[in-house]
Amino acid sequence: MMVNNDTTGILDRSIAWLRDSLGPPLHDLHRPLDLWLDSLPMWMAKTSAVGLFVIVGIWAVCLKREFVFLGAPDNARWRDLRIWAVFLLAVYATVYITLG
């Protein structure tokens, strides 16, 4: 039990030393970034989220037909995974436009 207490004490002191020595300079580095991000209007948050879906959607549409059908038993339209991807992204983008 004594050993456990000693170990815990050393660990706690090490963490405290780490927070005291590294915490303030890193906080000073990170703080301006936090303040800048907080100053951004919330429409930029929504645009970023929806923009992510749009960029991934454009990339998915640009994939080659042979690549998305590779291994499929036939080339039926419903097996086109680009259509699946665009449908999925459209639903998610709508959710973020509505609730973002």
């Binding site: 963490i15 780490l18 927070r19 590294l22 915490g23 303030p24 890193l26 906080h27 990170h30 936090d34 303040l35 991000l37 907080d38 951004l40 919330m42 948050a45 929504k46 970023s48 989220a49 992510l52 879906f53 991934v56 998915a60 994939l63 690549f67 998305v68 059908f69 590779l70 291994g71 499929a72 038993p73 097996r79 995974l81 699946w84 991807a85 999925l88 992204l89 639903v91 998610y92 959710v95 973020y96 609730l99 973002g100």
Partner: protein, 522 residues
């Protein structure tokens, strides 16, 4: 959970019994198709896309998510839903169209296996040890949670409940392997969705629909309109600022989860064709859409019904179950909790055995015996390994009670290597200049940096639970470590990289032939 005790009627017990018997029957049925370790761990590459998608989703949702997820929504609002929405959809598409075809064509079955081939044995070992510890610990934690649940609901002792779960899950996981795990997962997803949908419909009826619920919560006065927004300001009083949700969760954490988590990738690699593997991943993204609706909206409804749960937000779902569900549906809801628990245990168990067999035992065996295992030896050893891990986890499970925050500790452990793993995977696949020592340094220094940043916590970042910030920075720092050390250390010979760099795996048949030859000669 204690609120459930003594609430069940005979019809509820009957439904739970039928569910358990059904899972056992379906699970053991697949044992007849297991003739090699490939059948045991990759389902003989026979899985259809719909089973893969459903299994990925249900393995990701544990009983704790059903309870704590709703509790989180009760406290934090719908920002909690980001974990299943933006935390899955860009990632499943990146996994389906970038990483999966790569793994599939490169012939790798585990991430440590890739890291060993692309970098060196040390990098693979570090990743394998971390993965094994994480998955084995998860099996023990889920067994303990199962024991607590069965103790509360059926009054069984903890030990009886643990060994009952071990027997049921063990029988079908040991005999049927991945195919049994995936097909029982499909059953479990249906049960979970039906149970959760019943709770959703009745709770929404109780609060007068979405508009009635939002109006009631706003009139209560302690929550503003931001409670119903997915994206909240960077320095707002929340654990989930929009910057962390979009840039850390949406791009880094979720991508790492879907491309480096053995439990996810193994299902896709068990697909019958490359198309099924990709389609299964995207199909999982479709099901993920429903999780917040089924899990978090009842949490919001609970707030409208009773805003005074205070620190006991996790009682939101038990309160709704007791208040709203009639006999029969209550049994279905309990079956849904059991399904969530069992699917998590069987998934991590099977994946843990796969990593141990592929990345530890097989390497040692080949080095000392100088030959590969026969199919029969592979099946026997795989089953013995699965059973051993399960029994070991069962023996350790009661100790979980002594570590109140062990679940959080395990989740923190997972977050420690998500950023570094994604960094060295991306560089390994897309940059030929990444050297063996660069990959090793990127992983180890990245994990050490992540630990330090976690310890610094709110002394640096504007949150008491800064895992979103830590994952973001650890990813970029690991990229930096890998590039820096790679520029100072010798590259692997070009022959070693043939077939292991993305563009050549996709288009260069010569490289694929070289890879096949290397796999055969390994």
């Amino acid at each position: 959970m204690g609120d459930f005790a003594g609430q069940l009627a005979s019809i509820d017990y009957l439904i739970i019994g039928v569910y358990m018997a059904g899972v056992l029957l379906v699970g053991t049925f697949f044992g007849r198709y297991v003739h090699s370790s490939g059948d045991l761990f990759l389902a003989g590459r026979s899985l259809p896309f719909w089973a893969i998608g459903m299994s990925i989703v249900v393995s990701d949702i544990g009983a704790i998510d059903l309870i704590a997820g709703a509790g989180g929504a009760y406290e934090q609002g719908i920002a909690q839903a980001n974990f299943d929405w933006i935390g899955s959809v860009p990632a499943v598409l990146i996994a389906a169209f970038v990483f999966l075809p790569y793994y599939w064509r490169a012939g790798v079955y585990t991430v440590p296996e890739f890291l060993t081939r692309r970098y060196n044995a040390g990098t693979g070992w570090v990743q394998a040890v971390m993965l094994l510890f994480f998955m084995a610990a998860n099996v023990a934690v889920f067994l303990w949670m199962s024991a607590v649940f069965l103790n509360e609901v059926l009054g069984w002792s903890h030990l009886t409940a643990i060994w009952a779960t071990v027997i049921v899950v063990g029988i079908y996981t040991v005999t049927g392997g991945l195919a049994a795990v995936v097909m029982t997962d499909v059953m479990q997803l249906v049960v979970m969705f039906v149970g959760a949908a019943a709770l959703l419909i009745l709770s929404m009826w109780e609060v007068g629909g979405w508009s009635g619920m939002t109006q009631t919560i706003l009139e209560q006065g302690d929550k503003g309109p931001e409670f119903f927004h997915l994206l909240v300001p960077h320095l707002a009083d929340t654990e989930y600022p929009w910057t962390g949700m979009v840039f850390s969760l949406g791009l880094i954490m979720s991508t790492s989860y879907f491309v480096a988590n053995q439990a996810v990738m193994q299902r896709a690699l068990g697909a019958r064709t490359e198309w099924d593997a990709k389609a299964g991943m995207i199909f999982a993204g479709l099901f993920k859409l429903f999780i917040p609706v089924l899990v978090f909206v009842p949490g919001l409804a609970a707030r409208a019904i009773d805003p005074n749960l205070g620190d006991e937000a996790d009682k939101a779902v038990p309160m709704l179950v007791n208040k709203l569900l009639p006999a029969g549906l209550k049994g279905l809801m309990f079956a849904a909790f059991l399904a969530a628990l069992m699917s998590s245990v069987d998934s991590y168990l099977n994946s843990c055995a796969t990593v141990f067999m592929s990345d530890v035992y097989d390497r040692i065996h080949r080095r000392f015996a100088g030959k590969e295992l026969t199919d029969r030896q592979g099946v026997i050893l795989g089953r013995v390994l699965t059973a051993t891990i399960l029994i070991g986890a069962a023996l350790v499970a009661p100790q979980v009670r002594n570590f109140g925050t062990i679940y959080e500790a395990i989740q923190t452990l997972l977050s420690l290597f998500q950023g570094p793993t994604l960094a060295i995977l991306l560089l390994g696949i897309f940059w030929r200049g990444a050297t063996p020592w660069g990959g090793f340094a990127g992983l180890t220094l990245g994990v050490i940096t992540t630990i330090v940043l976690n310890l610094l916590g709110n002394s640096v970042f504007p949150s008491n639970t800064p895992f979103l910030f830590v994952s973001f920075w650890s990813f970029f720092l690991s990229l930096g470590f890998t590039v820096f050390v790679s520029l100072l250390t010798p590259r692997a010979p070009p022959e070693k990289l043939r077939g292991l760099v993305y563009s050549r795996v996709l288009s260069d048949s010569e490289a694929q032939q070289a890879l096949r030859e290397r796999v055969e000669s390994d």
